[in-house]
Symmetry: C2
Subunit: 330 residues, 2 copies
């Protein structure tokens, strides 16, 4: 066993419902993983206690003999300052305002801790061990309830001047378009998030489109999900197919803006909606080919994310390991 | 005279009509400037001869005693590779394809030469000696015939993976909107460039709006310019005022996308259209305030460029001096 494989880092993905914690060796392999309830409703103190407990539980599962734990990375939601280690605000975690997450956890565990935005660590994971390896400039879009973004430049997470940039779901694609959850009109998120897909489907149904979806939800459109739209499309429902195709086209419009700005090697598409795969990626690629500035599309690969739901935790461990392993010899 | 002020760099801004060359000392002051005809129609060889001649003419005007010329920076149009020193293509310069500009000029002048995209050097100039000093992240938009962009992160020009990024005029603000010169629909440039302002004004006049502009151009709308629209607005013409206000609003929509991505300290607005000043900057600021993600607008200043038409040449010299002066003591 080399010194290298004896070194591990812990990554924690702080979700609204569950904590996901992984132990990763210096080669980036997951050697152990657990999930643990977040208990977000109980407030920051309980959530932090659960973070600490999840790490201790994880470590208890590992034979610690000859192993060196070099630190804990935490991917947390909301705007946060990774330099001071403070979560400024976490929309889905009640009571989280100006929480000194890094220092509290570091003191409890007596280990070095780093915190980072959850979309950023997911993007970093794809750069480090996923679909975006060896890129100079990589963009990651996570299509879930909302649309998260991450930007990796020369192996570094780009955060902006006050750590609140990379809000890639909130680029405008149609300034007088659909209302977004952020209050703005026409954001990419308002169209291609799970929420946006459902909203566009309901609009089409209300405009008189016929679809098996109305049966699938027993005429209760409140229970419609983007997953059901995807399933209906797989089952050759023409409305659902056109909605999914349009989702890809609209995604391509957003990617075009990002590609003209960043001239990236890769745009990686993750999140629940990305399970639709080529059903959205093919029209997205076609739209970028059609719209982007000369040379941009030929240097760009638009690929599905590789690391799935572990991405956040892997990236959180990765921000610890990536910098440290350079110093470690075999 | 300190060693520092004896060191100079030459900056050349390669325009379609004229070359602008400046000599700048280590404090960033212009000690001499000239313009010289580009003769673009004569092809690359003549243009390059003129670049060399402009630098020699400039140097002849300077008392060279005790002066050390550390290099020549050239801001050139079109996609170019600043690492290899090759201009890939320059749309406004006939015959420019894969021209090894850096090495040819370096050999002729026997001086170190660097080349950089013209929008990038203008942005760098504003960072180095203009409106964007001391920023961590700075965006520059140049509103001229088209809309150019530059991105400065931690004092470095961001170019993208293949040096063709930062095409900030070609972010989409309305995907089914006005046709852009790039072939895409709804680019920021199609709305807020001089060309876009004229196009929107003509559309409004053709829709029946009355304005003193029709008299100002003797009913020949082909001779309408954005400068005339600005003048009509100053003279209280209500159509012109509404077009200029709308220009600011649309600019604000584009800035919002960039601000949500980059979380910049400054967005600097330059180019001919920016002479309208607060007539466009005030509605732009209001729109960003209304649309941007929480925290983004409060950390952002939207300011007019400071360096005017010298920006390109100053920035071209700046990319030589900025890195070198760190090594020079007083």
């Amino acid at each position: 066993m080399s010194i290298r494989t004896k070194t591990i880092a812990i990554g924690v993905d702080l979700g609204g419902t569950n904590l996901r914690a992984v132990a990763i060796n210096a080669d980036g392999q997951i050697i152990e993983r657990i999930t643990y309830p977040t208990q977000a409703q109980e407030g920051p103190n309980v959530v932090i206690k659960n973070i600490v407990a999840s790490v201790r539980t994880l470590l208890a599962k590992i034979a610690l003999e000859d192993i060196k734990i070099i630190g804990v990375g935490i991917g947390a939601p909301g705007p946060l300052n990774s330099e001071t280690g403070v979560v400024i605000k976490a929309p889905n975690l009640p009571g989280w305002e100006n929480i000194h997450l890094r220092d509290i956890v570091a003191k409890e565990l007596q280990l070095p801790v780093r915190i980072e935005n959850d979309a950023n660590v997911a993007a970093f994971a794809e750069y480090w061990k996923g679909a975006g390896q060896n890129s100079k400039v990589m963009i990651c879009l996570t299509l879930g309830t909302g649309v998260g973004g991450g930007i990796i430049i020369d192996g570094n997470i780009f955060r902006g001047s006050h750590f609140i940039g990379a809000e890639l779901g909130h680029i405008t694609i149609k300034y007088d378009g659909l209302r977004c959850s952020c209050g703005n009109k026409g954001c990419l998120e308002a169209y291609v998030s799970a929420t946006g897909i459902v909203a566009r489907t309901i609009m089409a149904i209300r405009s008189g489109a016929t679809t098996i979806l109305t049966d699938m939800v027993d005429n209760d459109l409140n229970t419609l999900t983007s997953e059901l739209v995807y399933q209906a499309a797989v089952n050759n429902d023409s409305l659902a197919q056109s909605i999914m195709h349009e989702t890809g086209t609209l995604l391509g419009i957003g990617i075009t803006s990002l590609a003209n700005i960043f001239n990236p090697d890769f745009v990686i598409i993750g999140g629940g909606v990305s399970k639709a795969g080529d059903m959205i990626l093919t029209p997205a690629r076609q739209e970028v080919q059609k719209r982007a500035m000369p040379g941009i599309a030929e240097h760009l690969k638009i690929l599905p994310a590789m690391l799935g739901e572990d991405a956040g935790a892997i990236g959180a461990a990765g921000i610890i390991l990536y910098n440290e392993t350079a110093k470690i010899s075999d």
